[in-house]
Amino acid sequence: MIKIYTPLNKKSVQRLKAGDEVLLSGIIYTARDQAHKRLVRDKGIGKGRGRDKGLPFNIENAVIYYCGPTKTPPGKIIGSCGPTTSRRMDEFTPQLLKLGLKGMIGKGDRSPGVCAAIKKYKAVHFLTFAGCAAFLNKYIKKARVIAYKDLGPGAIYELEVKDLPLFVGIDCRGRSIYKTKK
């Protein structure tokens, strides 16, 4: 079991191989489809671009978690919070990687284009236990919404995680845990 911490760095990413099991600690940011759309818009790239308003968090060496949690019940840090399908973010991922994003956490495979971008920018796509949203709850130590609050579950949450269990889905050499590639 490999322990890694955010922000990631070149060295920590480089030693990860597809299929490795990893425990991640530190700060990560949630973002789903609509948040991705806004991130590239706010950066003044992507469709319907405007001026560069900057991003709501420092994306350099950051990790994004594709997750839209349920509401937080009283006495809990966050609600159920499992991964959503990564592929839906494929359109935006290369742009964010170019900006310095180093890690993503989600479920399922990625497009060949994203695989290539992960390789190019030496990043990593992690997978975590899909459909195990109550189980994953206990790895979240702190949570707060930092941007796009109007998106509800699709807002950007800053999460502090401790030993979040992950698998390396696609490593920085572009290799995937899924043998049968489509």
Partner: protein, 280 residues
Amino acid sequence: MKIIKTVQIEKLVARLAIEANLILRRDVYSALRRAYLQEKNQRGRKVLKAIIDNAAIAREEKLAICQDTGMPCVFVELGQEVIIKGDLKKAINRGIEKGYKEGFFRNSIVKDPLFRGRGQYNPAMIHMNIVLGNKLKITILPKGFGCENKARLKMFNPTARIQEVKKFIVDTVKDAGPDACPPYIVGVGIGGTADYACLMAKKALLKKIDIRHSTVDRLTCKLEKQLLDEINRLSIGPMGFGGKVTCLGVNIETYPTHIAGLPVAVNISCHALRSASSSL
């Protein structure tokens, strides 16, 4: 004649919405436990263990089984001797909102499919069916969209061979690959019209997965078993990590169809197949 008030319906719907999202269906839970014993792939076993643990944590801590508490699909069987005082659809939608709020579930519905909008709890997908008798039966299936997005319909020629139909069903699962939270449960609707086949595929998910149903004929039962074996031979495995267990069960619903056609619909469910049902 039996009179049912909408407040009763609202309460029932709220209760079922909470139950469905917190307590994993017993047939699904036991299938997962059996799968855990069968699976040889080490990563796959780990995933199955997490899924089983997740169900227990969800139940005990009252946390939704999955953060995607789905698009609530509500199946109503209304006895024709029942009189409803008030607006039935409104009562159902209010019940959904009440249950989802009480359970701290996710408001995953947008008002407009193209222009989107803020997240809300309803409207639910309501399917009404008038039946004999004096009961009102309500079933709730919160359907996550990771797997709903993998649904497919194909209108075959009536001369299509059964092999082609099978291939279509297996290929639908193959294309879903690791994305929709395997191990899957596969619902299939064959016959009727395009719309009806899709509805049957969804309804097939409501049937228990560990018993083959006597209501369907023996040939369909055989087809279900064959499909299950073929899908498992895809070796997608839990979370797509490979292994024996790709699918926990295949349920087929059939209906007469037109001489010129053969509609086949597939609706895939993730391992978090949730539903709850009760009658008034």
